[in-house]
């Protein structure tokens, strides 16, 4: 009974955040469409003219874009969170609800995951429209694909909590972009696979295994491209779950301390 009541509060909070986000979903979906279409028009239509002959290159970029979308959404979530704890402190009302504070932060991470999944959904049919025959739908392992999309965005949700716990104020957001997001993104296999990197620079490839973005990219790409070219799907997903648990633990611990909550 006690647990059921807790879950009701937890679920209601999540439903509230989903309801709020759905009201502005159209705007974020347009952002996602602009991002995906401009990127694919260049990589799928222009890059072959410059000499890139790999027929999978468009699909490679498409899946990479989908995988990395949540990383950019993260910046918005962190900004909203920091603005709130420095400004209106809506969180103080939620902290007074019958729910332990750690569940409040887990809910925040899941809501953040929902936001990036929901706004990225339209990118999938758009990708097929732009890529046409180069994106072979029957090659996609759809169960793995949607599972990966969920795990990846939940990972971003906990990364949001983790990063937010270190950011003192809104001015710190520029630091997040330049010191956290870009290195993770550019060194995380957005432009190349881990096996390609291992071929040219094995030491960097092994160091890169500490970068969770590699598992994000490899995990999603292995669902729609020849799997043998990527880190095995379940290995990538397991690593992302481990990183999620680590970031959740540290992030929640630090936020509880920072907000001095029970």
């Amino acid at each position: 009974m006690f647990n059921k009541l807790l879950l009701t509060t937890f679920y209601t909070l999540l439903e509230k955040d989903i309801t709020i986000y759905n009201k502005k979903l159209i705007y974020r979906s347009i952002d996602a469409i602009v991002w995906m279409s401009s990127s694919l028009l260049v990589t799928h239509n222009l890059m072959p003219l410059f000499g890139i002959k790999d027929p999978h290159y468009g699909t490679f970029v498409f899946l990479g874009n989908l995988a990395v979308w949540g990383l950019f959404e993260m910046l918005t979530s962190i900004a909203l969170f920091i603005a709130d704890i420095q400004g209106d402190k809506a969180i103080s009302y939620y902290m007074s609800l019958p729910i332990p504070s750690y569940l409040l932060f887990i809910e925040e991470a899941l809501a953040s995951a929902y936001r990036s999944i929901a706004s990225s959904i339209l990118m999938i049919p758009l990708g097929k429209i732009i890529l046409g025959k180069s994106f072979i739908i029957s090659n996609v392992h759809w169960f793995h694909f949607f599972l990966a999309l969920c795990i990846i965005n939940i990972f971003y949700g906990f990364l949001t909590i983790f990063v937010a716990s270190y950011i003192p104020d809104l001015a710190g957001l520029t630091m997040v972009r330049s010191r956290i997001m870009f290195p993770l993104w550019f060194l995380g296999g957005f432009q190349f696979s881990w096996k390609m990197l291992k071929t040219v620079c094995p030491s960097l490839a092994y160091i890169s295994l500490c970068n969770p973005l590699f598992y994000v990219m490899e995990g999603l790409r292995s669902t729609g491209l020849p799997a043998e070219n990527y880190i095995p799907f379940w290995c990538s997903m397991s690593m992302l779950i481990c990183f999620s648990i680590l970031f959740a633990y540290i992030g929640i611990y630090r936020l509880k301390k920072r907000l001095d909550c029970i």
Binding site: T9, K89, S92, Y93, S96, P98, I99, I262
Partner: protein, 254 residues
């Protein structure tokens, strides 16, 4: 007001570790809150009133001490305690993308109010607080006074036994303040226990059954406004407060 103790605050201390010094915001505060009363926490900035109300709201833990509800520490069943309190924050933090009705609906569900009761309760409260015409409007269009009314309505959705109001009238026009005072009085008449944190002495005098004056983290005085005025031979609470500050200044000089 009954003499039945609803909450017992026992020797609460709160220390903040800030570089380079340690701030003792509360230094052994003890008091009882009686069922059905309006108790106001008063004090100058930094006296510890917001810290105390945050601890009573269970937003922050005390460094030491305890709070008893029905003679049991609230920390033994914190979630259960949160079900009987309603916290109304100072800043009007409404989910502005939701309508007023949606906001109230969610507020009821957070506390597991049965679905069948939520609609009736929301309608009742919107009527009580003159919010009915805004039921389908987004929170963003409400003026400051109406936002404050909404916060009170939201706080009452689960029919808490005690509500904690953190400076509910700060920044409002005088006539809207007066209007909210009547609303708060009505809540007391309905049997709700209210802990009010305020800077406004006229507000405390008009509304409170008892006032608790905090100074530098300790309770300086706790009594009814009438008794305080008699003791200090003053005609209003503001003058009592100024007398107290003068006393303090004299002690500090000596």
């Amino acid at each position: 007001m009954s003499s039945h103790t609803l909450l017992s605050i026992k020797n609460i201390t709160k220390t903040f570790q800030t570089t380079p010094k340690i701030i003792k915001a509360l230094r052994g505060v003890s008091l009882d809150i009686y069922q059905g009363e309006i108790l106001s926490l008063l004090g100058v900035n930094g006296a510890g009133k917001t810290t105390l109300s945050s601890i009573i709201s269970s937003l922050n833990p005390p460094t030491s001490g305890d709070i008893l509800y029905n003679n049991k520490s609230i920390y033994e069943d914190l979630i259960g305690y949160r079900r009987i309190i309603g916290f109304c924050p100072q800043k009007p933090n409404i989910d502005e993308m939701l309508t007023i009705e949606e906001n109230l609906h969610f507020a009821g569900r957070y506390f597991n109010v049965p679905e069948a009761d939520i609609k009736n309760r929301a309608t009742q409260l919107m009527k009580k607080f003159n919010l009915l015409q805004y039921a389908q409007s987004k929170g963003s269009i409400l003026s400051g006074g109406y936002k404050q009314r909404f916060l009170l309505a939201r706080t009452l959705m689960h029919q808490p036994k005690i509500i904690i109001l953190d400076e509910p009238t700060v920044g409002l026009d005088p006539h809207i303040r007066r209007n909210l005072w009547d609303v708060i009085k009505e809540l007391k008449n309905d049997g709700v226990t209210i802990l009010l944190t305020t800077h406004y002495l006229d507000e405390a005098e008009y509304l409170s059954d008892r006032v608790c004056i905090l100074d530098k983290g300790v309770i300086k005085l706790i009594d009814t406004p009438e008794n305080l005025k008699t003791t200090y031979a003053q005609d209003n609470l503001e003058n009592v407060f100024i007398e107290l500050i003068k006393e303090d200044a004299n002690i500090d000089v000596q």
